[in-house]
């Protein structure tokens, strides 16, 4: 029997007098990293750093987690990151897993998409889970980490860059104090006080439309699928989106148009008829949350400003069709933590952090492009745009090609970091998707005879993946692979043996069995194929033969040590 769920929306966290308070020193205490904001992105960054041995201070101006209807769709890549942060199982257990989306136009179902069409992945394409659960689970894990100092009711009121750090002035219920961070990560949301304090802006465009977002508690027969309607009978000329969440809570979005009055539309007497039109007039339900939103796509020009790094909504914002907001923020954290750690340990130069900015600015552009395209289809911005949108929908009933053009959201996938300076360009020929810059894909494996998943074997630092053939590996290769563990930047060697292959190797060299053969297939591997995978599980190099000097060069390149 599972214990009763904690109500994370009501959880109140304790303010604790900071140790620096009233300290009689003339200079502020210095910390390696200070994170501003304890939302999903701030907590993920903090956990990632703390797990790698970096001491972290997290400041939040509040003492509560989020409440109401915020992010709900957490993508497979995000779940893989949560796995690396020790929280994946809890998220998936509580969340509602889904892979399938359906699109309806008027009275017809026109299109079904499956976001995870193949088997052999540990995690589903998406889970729906209320943001307060995500924060609650991250918070509980974070509170158990010894070098993670979470400070509630600590509000940053001034940001002062210094020669080799950043000084923050903080307001608490007991008065102000200052601390310094060698680096500050601003995860303080769309209205980012840190961004404002530095006189910076996030720019883009706002979509001329309004959406009524309702979280409704009810028992309903809809399946765990994302359902999107264009011009349904129950909401003519507008769109509706329906998602299942845990605890019998359903998220329903109604497009209202630009001329709608948010204050009027939010009133229960105006929301109830809309929901009854969708569910039927006898439907029984309660409101958990109702709000009216306007959406924007925007970003900061640069995500790095000296020793301040911006992650999540502080750096970039998107409209929600595609679930690319929180998911890209967590991927920012994934990209940043290992780089910060190496820089703080003196194992990589400070300019490695420039690649956080360039890689994640690139990803933000991809997310903004996809979110904008979806929103332009849902909210056409001109008469002719609306004309073509409606033409696509009319054709979609009977024409397969038109169904592909229907855009109710291109759901979040992690970016392949094309053109990143940290990638070692291919010299050998490969097919498939595991190119340098791509997030490594999952596959079923066996470890010590037990069924396991490939991605869970990576992510603690760099990995060198060596695909062995059916024959025994020669001693020189074994020794060279083993030596990778002891380089200046440690690399974890993993040998992949085919189905039924021998799994005991000398020197404690780890081997995993490619249980279904899908790992080799997905990585287009043959005997000798070697991949180098970054701590954030993105591929950075690959070859048809293992050569330790190539691996060394790839690591140097991936850490700006080349």
């Amino acid at each position: 029997m599972t214990p009763m769920s904690q109500d994370y929306q009501k959880l109140e966290l304790n303010y604790v007098r900071p140790t620096e308070f009233g300290a009689r020193t003339s200079s502020s205490t210095r910390h390696p990293v200070i994170i501003v904001g304890a939302g999903p992105v701030g907590l993920a960054t903090a956990i990632d750093l703390a797990q790698q041995g970096v001491q972290v201070v997290v400041l939040d101006d509040d003492n509560k987690l989020s409440n109401g209807s915020r992010a709900i769709c957490f993508a497979k890549r995000t779940l893989e990151i949560f796995d690396r942060l020790g929280c994946g199982d809890r998220m998936v257990e509580k969340g509602v897993s889904w892979n399938v989306g359906k699109v309806f136009f008027q009275d017809d179902h026109v299109y079904t998409f499956n976001l995870l069409a193949e088997n052999g992945h540990s995690r589903p394409a998406f889970i729906n889970l209320q943001q307060y659960y995500v924060e609650g689970f991250l918070y509980e894990h974070a509170s158990r980490l010894p070098n993670l100092d979470l400070r509630w009711k600590n509000k940053v009121t001034a940001v002062t860059p210094k020669a080799d750090g950043v000084e923050l002035t903080i307001e608490t219920p007991e008065g102000n104090y200052t601390i310094e961070g060698s680096y500050v990560v601003a995860c303080d949301g769309a209205r980012s006080p840190v961004r404002k304090a530095l006189g910076l802006e996030s720019k883009g465009r706002t979509f001329r439309d309004r959406f009524l977002i309702a979280d409704v508690k009810m028992k309903a027969d809809f399946p765990a699928e994302r359902w999107f309607w264009f011009d349904p009978p129950f909401h003519r000329n507008q769109s509706v989106l329906l998602h299942m969440q845990p605890d019998n809570v359903w998220r329903i979005d109604f497009q209202l148009g630009w001329d709608a009055d948010p204050e009027v539309e939010k009133r229960p007497e105006n929301v109830i008829p809309r929901i009854k039109a969708l569910l039927g007039h006898d439907a029984q339900f309660d409101f958990e949350w109702v709000s009216v939103y306007t959406f924007s796509c925007l970003r900061m020009e640069k995500f790095r400003h000296g020793r301040v790094l911006f992650a999540g909504d502080s750096a970039h914002g998107v409209s929600p069709f595609g679930a690319r907001g929180a998911n890209s923020g967590i991927q920012d954290a994934d990209n940043l933590a290992w780089k910060l750690r190496l820089v703080l340990e003196g194992k990589a130069p400070d300019r490695l952090l420039d690649t956080y900015a360039s890689e994640r600015e690139y990803a933000a552009d991809e997310n903004i492009l996809n979110s904008t395209r979806a929103t332009d289809f849902i909210t056409p911005k001109s008469e002719v745009s609306r004309l073509f949108r409606d033409a696509v929908l009319k054709l979609s009933k009977e024409h397969p090609f038109a169904r592909k053009l229907v855009n109710s959201g291109r759901l979040s996938v992690p970016s392949t970091l094309h053109g990143s300076a940290l990638n070692t360009p291919d010299h050998d020929t490969f097919s498939g998707f595991m190119l340098p810059g791509a997030p490594a894909t999952d596959a079923p494996v066996s470890v010590s005879g037990e069924a396991a998943w490939f991605l869970n074997q990576t992510g603690e630092g760099f990995t060198a993946l060596y695909f062995a053939g059916a024959d025994a590996i020669d001693g020189a290769t074994v020794a060279a692979l083993n030596r990778l563990k002891y380089g200046a930047i440690a690399v974890k060697p993993i040998v992949v043996v085919p189905q039924g292959g021998a799994t005991r190797l000398p020197h404690g060299l780890m081997s995993i069995e490619d249980r279904e053969g899908w790992l080799a297939q997905r990585f287009d591997a043959c005997p000798g194929t070697t991949y180098v995978i970054r701590p954030d599980q993105h591929v950075c190099a690959r070859w048809r033969q293992f050569d330790p000097s190539h691996v060394e060069a790839a690591i140097a390149r991936a850490t700006c040590n080349a």
Partner: protein, 70 residues
Amino acid sequence: MATLNIEPNITQSDDFYEALIESHRDLDAAQSQMVNAKLVLLLANHIGELDVLREALRRAREGIEAVRDH
């Protein structure tokens, strides 16, 4: 890389032209707009290649002065 064919390629061009105009018979302006939009999409799919389509879009827009701040 394929390019847009601007040489004569319609097998019976006068028949086509008549059919095009005929296809709008008895439609009002809004309905004709919709027919044209659907036709663009249908033919675009038949052509398929993005480079060719971009070339066609470029030529279609050529010589038309955009009205500012419409």
